[in-house]
Symmetry: C2
Subunit: 515 residues, 2 copies
């Protein structure tokens, strides 16, 4: 007789499917941004120790230059129009910029930066504004340089799989564009409906399938960037191999707009899979979660495309606030395991065998597996809408940590115990396959007292385990003073030297990244 | 009835196999270096336009410091002992260093560089000395800093697949070390028996399986490097995701020892495949080669691990000089297609189906496919010993070019026509799946006249097609003055600024990389 869970597996499995169609995602965060709701305190007031730099204050002559260059429609100065560019979408930080610039071309970006550099006007480059560490909005009155109108797809090469596009293209739009070419974007994240590829590159975004398709440092073949002084740097190689001198593109991948503004990207896109399978599993201990991830890597090998986990309190968030339905009864832990491959029969055989053994060995207590698009979408929705659900739970303290996989979850109970009734909720989920935990703590409202209980404890804990205090979200505005928990003094010193070399007047995204 | 070629496919296919054992490789180049043979002219004489920099000349006090630090056994000064470190293994360039240093630890490297920087002694860092552009040997009398004794494997994590080791570990040794852990190195190249992982990282080596396992920029998780001034930079993260500030490791990946000396590496190692299959195919046109590579990418998908090609004149090299046996009759083009996967039955089904269709469509005229270790080794030997065979053919002009795949082979007939009887042989082979052509021209002996016919023509041709003048070999000593064919003036300027920042006294690997 089959174990209990397998019956359910069989029940849900293998409906009518449209192979090759990937699960749809979260509505664009912009659709649910709801700026009409409560605005966060201004950053300058919440973080009074951060002082405005000695930058020019925007005047009529500056605006005249900008409108002369871009026309009036692409220079926003109306405070209500600027508001959305001043607040991050998790309503954590808020600047008061009075000017948003919307260039369409590299040449316009170059002229803007050249002018700002000359007049020492601080600039905050902004993509889709989906960042989670306050890196994409102004701290004070920096001019916002939005890539929203830089959304041209320049070329798509079916043979080599190389896509070249402007920085402001939305990730999901690019993925949809690639589908008829039999290709897909090598990265995927919950914010795909809003985030810009330029922002992804500038922040070295990771996401849901890094496990399979690698990081942007590997898949970005080339890029074009504009330096602080307006000089255009053409590193837009479309070749897989190009060892001619220093690999300058890496200065811009992950430096969060502080060393230059990425204007174009050439990216290696993998073939769109012909077969996608998704399993959602219930487990009773983190020990078993660990055993299952090891088994998945071993048994599913080259087709394993995602390996995510969430705990019971995280599941409760999406069920309570978004009324999503959990396909299983309550378990302490849930896992989501996806395969992408080129042969449906082969892939099914692999995943069936993997699940059978995992259930026989009682590692997995219950589960559901499917290749039906609508059912896969429902399961992915649970995972991808966690951030949205968190916003309904109260003020959110967000941490994005890399830890050795054995200690992946240890921070969550440690933090819950430390905070006790000070926290409304302490929950953990994330990219288990890459050792990347998202720890979230919700409270009724922000207080310095709770913040002091959380930080620097969370960073000390991570540092002791040789983890990273920011796995994929970056440093942004929120974390510069904690960078030393992950980086040596010599490294930080060299970063400062690079900043001084690339942006000697410090106009690009000031108050961010560097301590 | 089966087409002719398929019978042969069936004949050779599927003997007794030891799954999971990867093909062995080329004997270490050092074993066939044969320095007893003709030595090349000294670089200073062959390239008289390159002038020695204003560096200190080694004196007794310097040597006293070095022997005090390392002991006499690890400071080589005997000219015959130094000779092997002065000549590259293809006997193309030759320095006259009178001192080879063999540190064992990062601290020793740090003290050496600190001393050399203070006394302005030029230093040539050297790994396995298997480079092909003269980057790894001195040009004049630079002190050689050899990583040969820095060969400790520091840790191997079975769960995460992360290997941490010193820079002087030999690639093949690391791969053998990983096998019992169920892991493999993510890169593989002909020189694996000699090359050091530190040199691989410093030159951003590509190799035979980049197609599948990606580049070092993606798979190197962290590294430790010593700056020119002796400062140790600890970027030795072992985490897959770590977005805490600028990604400094990339300054050292591919900068060929000019910005610092890599001393330790942390590298993400993929699971060793449970199933390996290899096909060797004969084709009658490059058009068909192109069709087959597209089909292989499509049909073999996630298990395609290598896609190489060679032309008839290349095959003749290994048959004539090394007496290797070609498994097929003569065709204008040969292809080598390898799969690595986790399920032998699935992989065989995929490759069989792919080959059947390719032969039915007359794209492939004949072929042999096998998973037997000894037969795979014989086939790989043909591909991997080409460089060795070339050395028997005369003086070799080597070019390592990236080209858009449609134009991958066009340079070979163009060059053959241009050189006519001036060349003994003009042949092309390489990493087709990555668009990386190795063009080799042999002549009886080096003459400036032939060189002038080849260069800059070869670079102009490549540049017009927006290719790269060095796909994976790097710039080294041979190509700085041609870098502008692949890089913009603004990029070269920024490279020079980075060099000035990192190595202001220009002691690290001078005369290399930068124009």
């Amino acid at each position: 007789m089959l174990p209990r869970g397998l019956r359910q597996l069989s029940g849900l499995r293998r409906g009518t499917s449209s192979l090759g169609i990937r699960p749809p995602y979260l509505p664009r965060p912009s659709q649910s941004r709801g700026l009409a709701g409560t605005l966060p305190e201004l950053t300058k007031d919440r973080y009074p120790h951060v002082k405005r730099g000695d930058y020019a204050t925007l005047d009529g002559n500056h605006l005249k230059f900008f409108t002369g260059l871009l026309g009036e429609n692409r220079v926003l100065t109306d405070p209500s129009e600027c508001e959305g560019y001043n607040v991050d979408w998790i309503k954590n930080v808020r600047g008061y910029s009075q000017c948003v610039l919307k260039p369409k071309t590299t040449e316009e970006v170059s002229k803007i930066l050249s002018f700002c550099n000359e007049h020492r006007i601080a600039v905050c480059p902004q993509g889709g504004n989906t960042g989670l560490v306050g890196g994409s909005v102004p701290v004070f009155d920096e001019v916002v340089l939005s890539t929203a109108l830089m959304n041209e797809i320049i070329s798509t090469d079916d043979t080599s799989g190389v896509l070249v596009c402007q920085a402001g293209c939305i990730l999901e739009t690019l993925d949809s564009h690639l589908a008829p070419h039999g290709l897909m974007m090598p990265l995927d994240l919950g914010a795909k409906g809003s985030c810009h590829i330029g922002g992804n590159v500038a922040t070295n975004a990771g996401g849901l399938r890094l496990l399979r398709y690698g990081n942007l440092q590997g898949s970005v073949l080339g890029l074009e960037a504009v330096k602080a002084n307006g000089e255009v740097l053409d590193c837009l190689s479309t070749l897989k191999k190009d060892n001619t001198g220093y690999h300058l593109k890496h200065l811009f991948i992950g430096s969060e707009g502080t060393l230059g503004v990425v204007t174009k990207v050439a990216i290696q896109c993998p073939p769109k899979p012909k077969s996608v399978n998704l399993a959602f599993l219930g487990l009773n201990s983190f020990d078993n979660v660990l055993k299952v991830v090891k088994k998945a890597k071993h048994e599913l090998g080259e087709i394993l495309s995602s390996c995510e986990m969430m705990d019971a309190l995280t599941m409760d968030l999406v069920v309570s606030h978004l009324k999503l339905k959990c396909p299983l009864i309550e378990y302490p832990f849930y896992m989501l395991i996806e395969t992408q491959g080129s042969n449906q029969n082969h892939d099914e055989e692999k995943i069936d065998r993997f699940l059978e053994v995992a259930m026989e060995e009682k590692l997995v207590l219950d589960g559901t597996a499917t290749n039906e698009v609508s059912k896969m979408k429902n399961i992915w929705d649970i995972r991808e809408r966690i951030t949205e659900a968190l916003n309904h739970d109260g003020y959110v303290f967000k941490y994005d940590i890399s830890l050795p996989i054995e200690n992946f979850y240890s921070l969550v109970p440690a933090m819950a115990e430390r905070l006790g009734s000070d926290a409304k909720r302490v929950c953990g989920y994330g990219h288990l396959g890459d050792g990347n935990l998202h720890l979230n703590i919700t409270v009724k409202e922000f207080t310095q007292d709770v913040l002091k209980k959380i930080e620097p404890f969370v960073y000390e804990f991570t540092s002791k385990l040789r983890g990273s205090i920011s796995a994929e979200h970056g440093i942004g505005f929120r974390k510069p003073k904690y960078m030393h928990y992950s980086k040596s003094p010599a490294s930080i010193q060299l970063m400062k030297q690079l900043k001084a070399l690339m942006d000697p007047r410090n106009i690009l995204n000031p108050y961010k990244v560097l301590p």
